[in-house]
């Protein structure tokens, strides 16, 4: 039984990774336990269904309004932040974003970076990019720190180390940090605290993500429970925030419902321990806070999703993780199986725009379409419908122009012809009758091997007579005809 799945050793495709994960009892227990508890916490945090639904509708409208004026809001945000003394950068690709971040660090001769939790920096693989340039980039969120220490990637966007239990963390700490083994979570956290406090003091640059960027006031809002986000954005002399272009909202008041939706959906908390609103660097009369604040706005495929009115809804996402917590597939295969930065239902609908659908062709199909993700989404992204849409884009004829990046990779001429035949059969009554006659009369000739189906099921054999024929005979007997 494997206790750990380092990303580098993972099999190449979703299916074989899923097979491995499904056979790992420890992994499945870790996920099942965590997801059950998160589902309950969310349910308890929304005791009033009417209140919850009203808030979700409002959340959806706020995001839809922001997206309907996205370019204007981005310009307003830039103008306001600039006025507040923050430098705004734009990056179309992760390569550009990394180069910008590296440039800012180089200008300060920085060697040590401490990072608050940021999924966009995971998209950029910033740690590796900086490490190759002799800059240490240390994760400071406890979960991210554990995952980084073990050379892994996060398996959940809110709880990065959720695939590990305390014993596994203890073994990791004694191996890498020379700490005495303990299963006591408090002691493990204190070890992390001691190690990272030193790093906060020493760091030349702090990096963070952004939960909401407010255009009206030029403010970056960050939520967290640990305090590492505040440390990373306050102690080092330079703060670099990286975020996707979809995180901008129009007005300050818009964050009131979004904040409530985010923390209740993600963790079942009425609010996180810290809500950190950053509107500028240290002023001359102030005694702490970074001297420089930078915001890097990253596209990385988002404008591609934006181009399609249906796909645009993926940009509503506020990264709460509720869809993965409630997903029967995610709970069973775990986050690493997806092999991408964003796992679970939300990952399935945003990754194609970043990496290309041809990089993740199995993702849209790896869903029972049970609808749980869409039902719990705090901003009402119709995830099941978008998965169906991606299934269609997956088999679009490669000769046609593709709507989604990397679309059409699952197109097969044979499959297309089979469906065309199926359509013909079902739209011509005479042909359909003939087919039924043949299928029932020649039932002994039905192939015993029906691909993946017969691996786990006995082969289907048509009945002696079709329902059509039986009904016919029945009616004739009653003399109705």
């Amino acid at each position: 039984m494997s206790q750990r799945i380092p990303v580098t050793e993972l099999a190449a495709d979703f299916r074989s990774r899923a097979t491995t994960a499904l056979a790992d009892d420890q992994l499945r227990t870790n996920f099942r336990t965590a997801m059950d508890s998160l589902i309950k916490k969310r349910a308890d945090a929304f005791p009033d269904e009417q209140e919850r639904e009203g808030l979700r509708e409002l959340g959806n409208r706020i995001k839809a309004r922001a997206l309907s004026r996205l370019p204007d809001l981005l310009e307003q945000l830039e103008a306001k932040l600039t006025e507040n003394g923050v430098t705004v950068h734009w990056a179309e690709t992760v390569e550009q974003a990394n180069r910008i971040v590296h440039g800012i660090i180089e200008a300060r001769n920085g060697r040590q970076v401490v990072k608050g939790k940021s999924m966009v920096s995971e998209e950029m693989e910033m740690n590796d990019y900086l490490a190759r340039r002799d800059i240490e980039c240390l994760e400071s969120d406890m979960g991210e720190y554990i995952v980084q220490l073990d050379g892994e990637k996060p398996s959940h966007i809110i709880m990065p180390a959720i695939h590990k239990n305390a014993r596994q963390v203890s073994r990791l700490f004694s191996e890498k940090l020379d700490e005495p083994a303990t299963d006591d979570v408090n002691e493990l956290i204190q070890t992390g605290r001691r190690t990272l406090r030193r790093k906060f003091m020493e760091a030349d640059v702090g990096v963070s993500g952004v939960n909401f960027a407010i255009a009206e006031t030029g403010t970056l809002l960050l939520v967290e429970n640990e305090g590492n986000g505040r440390m990373s954005t306050t102690v080092p002399p330079v703060h670099i925030a990286v975020t996707g272009i979809e995180k901008v909202v129009q007005n300050l008041r818009d964050v009131v419902p979004l904040l409530s939706l985010l923390t209740r959906s993600a963790l079942g908390q009425p609010i996180t321990t810290y809500v950190n609103l950053i509107s500028g660097p240290r002023k001359p009369e102030e005694l702490d806070g970074p001297e420089e604040v930078h915001l890097v706005l990253l596209d990385n495929g988002r404008s591609g999703a934006f181009a399609d009115a249906q796909m645009r809804q993926t940009l509503n996402c506020i990264r709460c993780g509720a869809c993965m917590n409630h997903c029967p597939v995610y709970t069973r295969v775990g986050g690493h199986t997806y092999g991408e930065v964003y796992p679970g239902p939300i990952g399935k609908i945003i990754t194609p725009h970043m990496a290309g659908l041809n990089q993740v062709p199995d993702h849209p199909g790896a869903s029972s379409l049970c609808g749980a993700c869409g039902e719990v989404c705090p901003v009402k992204i119709p995830i099941p419908q978008l998965l169906q849409r991606l299934r269609q884009e997956n088999v679009r004829n490669p000769a046609e122009p593709q709507v989604v990046k990397g679309g059409g990779s699952k197109y097969s001429r044979t499959e297309r012809m089979i469906w065309q035949g199926w359509q013909l059969l079902n739209t011509r009554p005479a042909l359909y009758g003939l087919f039924l006659r043949a299928a029932t009369r020649l039932r002994r000739l039905t192939p015993k091997n029906a691909g993946p189906w017969t691996r786990n099921h006995s082969a289907p054999v048509p009945a002696r007579r079709s329902l059509h024929e039986l009904a016919d005979a029945h009616l004739r007997q009653r003399g109705d005809q």
Partner: protein, 223 residues
């Protein structure tokens, strides 16, 4: 500037011929479920904050320095970071001088670069004011400034916060409207709703992750 114009160009292209969605913000949805009679606000804030390991005290607006001295003594703490120029800082100094307290009052009176190590390693507790509280979520609102800089409420292991009972608002929306936040925010504004915590290992809640291990709220009643 090409990345900027490319991104904005693509977005504008995709929006061609569409009209921006109207602002249908319904403030009722974020205020009505979160309204309390004034007398119940303190209780609501208190119970929510205590549920996340915050120690809450309620005293008269004049007696609090004695309580603070007692809190320090009980924990055997040898120093307290405070802002001498603020009203509460002055009251505290006066009390310390007249009663001869054992613990030392420290001031955050120079840029962080000049005493980073000392702040991280020697300061045992801090005391700051707040600009209000939120009953709905059990939160304190802090606007750090020159006198009470950002790290004062983050680095010391014990943070004591003074909160006037009369400044507890029903919910965040009411507070930011009453205080006119949209008209201008400080470089850093904070909502603090408990001591630092994490549930990153097996979802087991542990306090004192990176910030204060203890948060003590002293609610001040009108004199």
């Amino acid at each position: 500037m090409t990345a900027r114009s490319n991104i904005l160009g693509k977005l504008r292209n995709s929006l061609a011929g569409t009209t921006p969605r109207p602002d249908e913000f319904d403030e009722q949805l974020v205020t009505r479920p979160w309204q309390y009679p004034p007398a119940a606000r303190v209780e609501r804030l208190r119970s929510l904050m205590e549920a996340v390991h915050t120690e809450v005290h309620q005293v008269s607006a004049t007696d609090w320095p004695a309580l603070v001295a007692d809190l320090l003594n009980r924990r055997n703490l040898s120093n307290l970071l405070c802002a001498p120029a603020t009203d509460h800082g002055k009251a505290l100094q006066h009390y310390w001088q007249t009663t001869g307290q054992r613990s030392q009052l420290l001031a955050y009176d120079r840029p962080i670069e000049q005493w980073k190590t000392a702040l991280f390693e020697n300061v045992e507790a801090s005391i700051t004011g707040t600009i209000g509280g939120i009953a709905a979520t059990g939160s304190l609102v802090l606007w750090p400034d020159r006198h009470e800089p950002r790290l004062m409420s983050l680095v010391p292991p014990v943070h004591i916060a003074l909160l006037k009972a009369s400044e507890i608002h029903d919910n965040l929306y009411d507070l930011m409207t009453a205080q006119r936040w949209a008209a201008g925010l400080p470089t850093n504004a904070l909502l603090v709703s408990g001591p630092s915590k994490t549930a990153d290992i097996e979802q087991v809640l542990a306090y004192g992750a990176h910030g204060p291990k203890e948060l003590i709220v002293v609610i001040l009643d009108q004199a």
